[in-house]
Amino acid sequence: MEYRYLLAGINISLVSIVFIVFGIFSGNSIVLGVSLSTLVLGILLVTIGLTYIPPLRELLKTYSNDLTIFANKLLEDSGLVSSHEIRICYNKDIIQAVFANGAIDCRKVLPGIGVADNVSYISFPIKDLVSVLETEYSIGEGVDLRDYLRDILVNRYIVSRDIIINRENGVFKIKLWSLSRDAIDLLNKPFNPIRIIVPVFVSKFFEKNITVMDEEIVGNNYIIKIKVM
């Protein structure tokens, strides 16, 4: 959405409508005709404002899809697709999203493909996203996890309409309620941004390692159970 086109379009449309009404009541057909023409321009601007796709974003989306295919192929080839555990290894400088086929010690994990204590893993470093979180979403006093996740996932990136968090026996059950269409499209591969970003944000919030205990998709909702280590 491009707000300046939307705003310009709404302004032009409103002025046109006023003059259309004036033209009808005063019987001035030239004013009516000119206003109708201007209304076409206004509606065009509103449409552009509502549906505008910045060109680079479209390219990045396509590139991201290709990278996701590559990452999923890696998971497939390393035998991690069918059974894996997701662990987020927190470090101040870099957070790693680790896919492993068993419990793994975060101190022995390095970015990339590796084996630690006979457990094979693939670790995806998450650096830029963490920098964005640090600069734009500082965790101040009184900010709870729900507010933090809501700010980022609902208000900023519109991943879902709301977030519900329950805590039971040290396990956080996070429900992304009513996922957006783009988010639902992303969830159809084993390795996808949604599965990574939620535990990464939680890890950043608590500044601790995270284990993903369970995940499920129920209708348009994504439920993830996370344990903070």
């Binding site: 086109y5 005709g33 023409s37 076409v40 449409t47 549906t51 505008y52």
Partner: protein, 83 residues
């Protein structure tokens, strides 16, 4: 200046030139202004594809085409003295 800004400005200038021309020749039928604006929209967005590449105009296309068709049908029926 962004490409999209330039496209919109050119479209607005074209539209303005045509409207002023119609005013100068004394055209008083409002549907003529509207139908020519719609034609300019279709012609311009077909020639210069940057607007169509970056915005989804399908619904707008269908709406304007419908309005244009109604205007044309109305005029035909008026000429044939059916209304």
């Amino acid at each position: 200046m962004e490409i999209m800004d330039r496209e919109i400005i050119v479209y607005a200038i074209l539209s303005t030139i045509v409207i002023i021309s119609f005013i100068l020749i004394g055209e008083t039928r409002p549907d003529v202004y509207l139908s020519i604006s719609i034609l300019i929209y279709f012609i311009y967005t077909s020639i210069s594809r940057n607007i169509r590449l970056r915005a989804k105009l399908t619904i707008l296309d269908i709406s304007l085409l419908t309005v244009f068709s109604i205007i044309v049908i109305y005029r035909i029926l008026t000429i044939l003295e059916w209304i």
